[in-house]
Symmetry: D2
Subunit: 139 residues, 4 copies
């Protein structure tokens, strides 16, 4: 998929629009995204919810995989593992994902999520996962 | 924490309220939750986003761990792994989580997410993860 | 594969024979194995090495998947995640694995490893993983 | 721990000696190891067993964590996730591990395993995991 098709994946995914995850760049098995942290992203102690970080890391990884598939295919998450390294609190999250093994049917991906606070970026979570490439008609 | 304290974790977590994840039951290292699927939960192909399932599985597991901690402690996700077994489409998600190893500082947890469609419940994802128990003042 | 074919997977895998992992039972998406703990299985502090537990949990899960495939297919581990719940020390390890999602190309599996010490079985590790089913000629 | 103490972890771990996993270098949160592939490392189809790769990736990651701990502490694997990217066949495995989050009690680590065949190194597996740092007397 080209950058316009990737952009449409962000626009046409209501959960991603609702969270405010924006596409920054995509191409050649890589993707970067950004999210401005608001109170709606928090858990009960005032930190960004693990689910927000997971969603961002997963979706960005899926888009990185999408840059390597044909437009007749869709990308579905088969599984992922994420380590939350420290509580995340700040102004924004930045995510960078890349495909580390571009198989025809399975793509292994990794993502890093950074939290921007007081002009400093800190790695807050890391994902390692597997995306399934599936024909559009047969998910 | 008792059921009222667990309930407050759901009410005081803006991301969980926004998603519409409701507490069904909690106690003795277990927790169950429910979510009515709406269009805001979907990804670009009309399925429930992996991030919604992950958030629900993670938060429910955290609450299961919370039933075994004192009220001076908070529970933070250290890491989790989730397998998405099949595309999820239907009316509601149901999640059941339990602690499989109740350590003092680390609790190993698992969650299962079921999708309810046409009166049938199908297992759609499974999480295995680790929760860190941290004193309230020192996250 | 039937029980005899599964048995051959244990006999023809030199690493499994060398470790002394024995097939106990197999069928219908399930498998059980056993290992008598010896000093060769230990790490530097006298506990069973995480790698021994991982190998046993992975191989038993692969065999569980194998009970559901045709004899023209082989089963390869795509990925797994394992939680080591506590240091393992005792006389034997017992492992039980089962397929929780029997896909045609991917099977999601889980395994539990128990340590037998002083006539008591304790859960020491839990695996959640994905097996790829691949035609014999095209691994 | 310094390089000599790390070296002792390899010598005093019978499972690691038996597998032939050799320390190449260690320091500053990093470690590298090597293994010459023999028939005893294989599974039933002639590939290096996932358990061998897991053991190597796990132990090397534990040693990387060990370079950052005091000598009164031991490092135990809490959990790890490994993706097996492709069947591994060749002359040797090389592993490089590093700590990506050096916590006082938990260290998040990653390892990459490369297979050397016909003078070419190929990435065959990737691990993301968590090591627990535990006082010597209280594992």
């Amino acid at each position: 998929m080209n950058i316009e098709e990737i952009r449409r994946i962000f626009q046409n995914a209501p959960f991603i629009s609702a969270l405010g995850i924006d596409l920054v760049s995509a191409g050649d098995g890589e993707c970067a995204t950004k999210l401005t942290i608001g109170s709606r992203h928090l858990q009960q102690d005032g930190f960004v919810h693990a689910g927000v970080q997971s969603t961002m890391a997963d979706h960005t990884a899926g888009a990185a995989a999408g840059t390597l598939t044909g437009s007749g295919d869709i990308v579905l998450t088969a599984e992922f593992k994420i380590n939350l390294l420290r509580p995340a609190r700040g102004e924004a999250l930045l995510c960078r994902a890349r495909v580390i093994n571009p198989g025809r049917k399975l793509m292994v991906v990794e993502s890093e999520v950074y939290c921007l606070a007081d002009s400093t970026e800190t790695l807050v979570s890391k994902l390692l996962g597997t995306m399934a490439v599936v024909p559009l008609r047969d998910p």
